[in-house]
Symmetry: C2
Subunit: 239 residues, 2 copies
DNA sequence: TGTACATCAGTGAACGCGCGTTCACTGATGTAC
DNA sequence: TGTACATCAGTGAACGCGCGTTCACTGATGTAC
């Protein structure tokens, strides 16, 4: 069990449409593949990314360990499926925040609010699902060896972020010249804050934490927004 | 072996003063504790944080597995020592960048350059020592159980960052009101960028990568610096 | 300086564990005629 | 609609592995007198 403050207001995202319960006592399970993924997700939730154990997942579903091999060639394929489920849930969390947005009528403000919503969705997912979040962004094993390999870009969520940034450019808030660095900056800040809240700053009370998220997203916006004075490194005012 | 672009210009930091070689063939090793830590560091470098294996470390030093128990109560104590070595090396990397700074005579500019140097030191460490970096910021095991627990704040490096931010306030670049959020924002961005460069963006050519680091640090500064227009959420200009 | 002896820092064998994976198998299901 | 048979999706036992850790031990070192 992760000892991380998980205040009730951070609502867990429903991972996939997959249920953890056995669907009958049939000899042929019917949906063993998804059941094993769901069991592995439960293991990750309970004890973190390293808790994915083939035998444990099979045990949890009530099936012999060997049965898993009808659906996954190797343990690492199961882990990969869980990783993918994590990425899907991440995008879902972002989309949820976007859907909750109420248009203000001001196109520029709406574009800003969309970027902030995406950031919130990201961070909320990390807080709600620390295990899946950690697993998703962990280097993983190569299929033909035991080497570590860079994680792939998280497709859907990455696209969401890019769309939001394009929106900011269209609306004149983000300078086209800053567009490229903006992806990295926004993603890095939001990801880093998630890690911080999960790690060194775990235990921050919910209210302070939510305010911190808000302020940080504000600072990101301030860094990205076009401004009157010359760009970075900003000439500081003398005291 | 980490498949991560590690261009030669990113110089590895010498971890501790500890050497990996046996210091003689004496029955009493003399410095087995440090030798085991060094061996574990080598394991992490080669195969990542999960590669710390007590028997493997002992094997590497040329000592019976059991001998390790004279110096560590449990495997987790060895891992903790390696984590600590990682944090020490992180601070050392930051201090190195600070030491390389040439004063400009302008106090405000110098304060800005110090913050940037700290950020560079952080990111360079991550790139040079991906295994130690990952291990350091990974949730770790509780001493009395197998639960995951939040990482402690990385003392020395955290202090370095705070000192730099205090300097920015003193010099009038950072508003006192933004001071609190600034730590989080700066740390999060720099940490997130490190993860990004190690993961999804591994393989970015060295030149592009260094420019990206610079631009991102610039955006951080832009977010933190006092500005004429009202603070976040910044009212965007109409197009 | 010499001796007795406690303590320190190792050795080597062994234990038990849970794991991923393989083997030979069998019951359930679906399809061709 | 009924039957034969291929295929699918499981079972249960077993293997070998490397691990963390414990046990009883012994050689080296340091210190008191």
């Amino acid at each position: 069990v992760y000892i991380v403050n998980l205040p009730s207001d951070v609502h867990a995202v429903n991972i996939l449409g997959v249920s953890d319960s056995k669907t009958g006592d049939r000899y042929h399970h019917g949906d063993l593949r998804n059941a094993l993924i769901a069991a592995a997700v439960a293991l990750v939730r309970a004890d973190g990314p390293d808790a994915i154990v083939l035998r444990a997942a099979a045990r949890r579903v009530g099936v012999s360990a060997n049965a898993a091999y009808r659906h996954f060639d190797r343990l690492s394929d199961l882990i990969e499926a869980v990783r993918q489920a994590g990425f899907d849930a991440l995008s879902a969390s972002m989309l949820k925040e976007l859907a909750d947005l109420i248009p203000t009528g001001d196109a520029a403000m709406d574009a800003i609010l969309r970027l902030r919503a995406i950031g919130r969705g990201y961070i909320h997912f990390a807080l709600a699902e620390p295990g899946l979040f950690t697993l998703a962004f962990r280097g993983h094993q190569d299929s033909n060896g035991h080497q570590y390999v860079a994680t792939d870009p998280p497709d859907a969520s990455w696209n969401l972020l890019n769309t939001a940034l394009d929106g900011l450019v269209e609306v004149g808030v983000l300078a086209p010249a800053d567009r490229t660095a903006a992806v990295t900056n926004a993603w890095a800040t939001v990801h880093g804050l998630s890690v911080l809240l999960l790690g060194p700053m775990a235990g921050t009370p919910a209210a302070a934490r939510d305010e911190l998220i808000d302020t940080t997203l504000g600072l990101v916006m301030r860094g990205l927004a076009i401004r009157a004075d010359p760009p970075a490194p900003a000439k500081p005012r003398k005291r």
